[in-house]
Amino acid sequence: MRDPRLSIIEKRLSRIKRILIFLSGKGGVGKSSCSCLAALLLADGKTKTGLLDLDFQGASDHILLGVKPSFPDEEGGLLPLTPYPGLSFMSVTCFTGERDVPLRGGGVSDAIVELLAVTLWGKTEILIIDMPPGCGDEVLDLVRLIPRGEMILVSTPSVLSESITLRSAGLLARMGADVRGVIYNMTGDDTTLTGQPSADGIGALPRLGGIPYGKDFEGKIGSPRQLLTSIQAAGMKAVIEKLLL
């Protein structure tokens, strides 16, 4: 038996200039917030942007963007939703809503392959992929399926997150993935959770920038326009500028 979907993935993504994959070894560091902010900022800057939420069991991009999950339109494939002008969005929640999605390894791989094979990204120039925490099936599959993907690690300045981020970077390097650097989330300003990354270890990885923690972020969830006014968006803007240089 041969899987025909594997033959079409490269073609589906061929028009996309850059594919940025946001990941972290540890959960709770703000991958989804960073992914959504990056996608919104790019779209707001008139770059046709796609956002693919591959965190099947913890999908939350739709909540951040205020999207009520619904079936995508069909026209030769599945057409992503448009939660903001210039932003195309695809998530497992289009098919499962707010239900749980209890997938194991093989199911995870099949679901990733299916979404990559049947989603038509149109004129998307930059695709952002929001990954689940860890370097398990999803990450291993993406390195295999999208070798040109650019890995963006998200960490907090906590020693726990730093340690696991270093391990993730090591794994990605062993697999020959293109690791662009680390975003330090929840750093600076108005919280005791702040800190600075250690100079050795994770500090040796390319630093893409810091995203401050702000207590008012929670109140902006669900409104793309409000999210764009957050101090986190200002931090992410600098990251995006650095990435796109």
């Binding site: 069909e74 209890p102 997938l103 995870v108 299916e114």
Partner: protein, 137 residues
């Protein structure tokens, strides 16, 4: 029309199979269609016809479809069962599984123990059983 995306994938696989080879004819392409995804054969065949380049020596009649019934294996209690589209699923649920067969884990559970932790052992979606080619001498 989601079927067209899958049809395009099949045609792309055929093109990759014959790439760089001196092919006289593509004699047959055998496709297995899992009942879980419930692909509309008529639409799927239209898609194959649409994407297949006219200079490929294969006619649409040489696509051979075999339906494979979906089966599951419960990872908790070991029960095996066959998928029935009428198993407590409404039209939207079935449509979800049609788009993404793994969505079955969100809508179905083991009839013996109720666990959603099961494996799709057969009949998930579209796969190619064989591509028969005759090469030039």
């Amino acid at each position: 029309m989601h079927e067209w995306a899958l049809a395009e994938a099949v045609v792309e696989t055929i093109l990759k199979e014959i790439e760089g080879r001196k092919v006289r004819s593509v004699d047959s392409v055998a496709l297995s269609l899992g009942t879980l995804q419930n692909v509309d054969k008529t639409v799927f065949r239209e898609g194959l016809r649409n994407f297949l380049p006219s200079d490929i020596p294969l006619t649409k009649e040489r696509f051979i479809f075999t339906e494979e019934a979906a089966e599951f294996l419960c990872r908790r209690c070991g029960a095996k069962w066959a998928y029935s589209r009428e198993d407590a699923l409404d039209e939207d649920d079935r449509e979800s599984i049609h788009f993404l067969p793994e969505a079955a884990h969100s809508y179905l559970s083991c009839p013996s123990c109720g666990s959603p932790d099961f494996e799709i052992t057969k009949g998930r979606g579209v796969s190619i059983s064989s591509i028969e080619i005759t090469e030039e001498d």
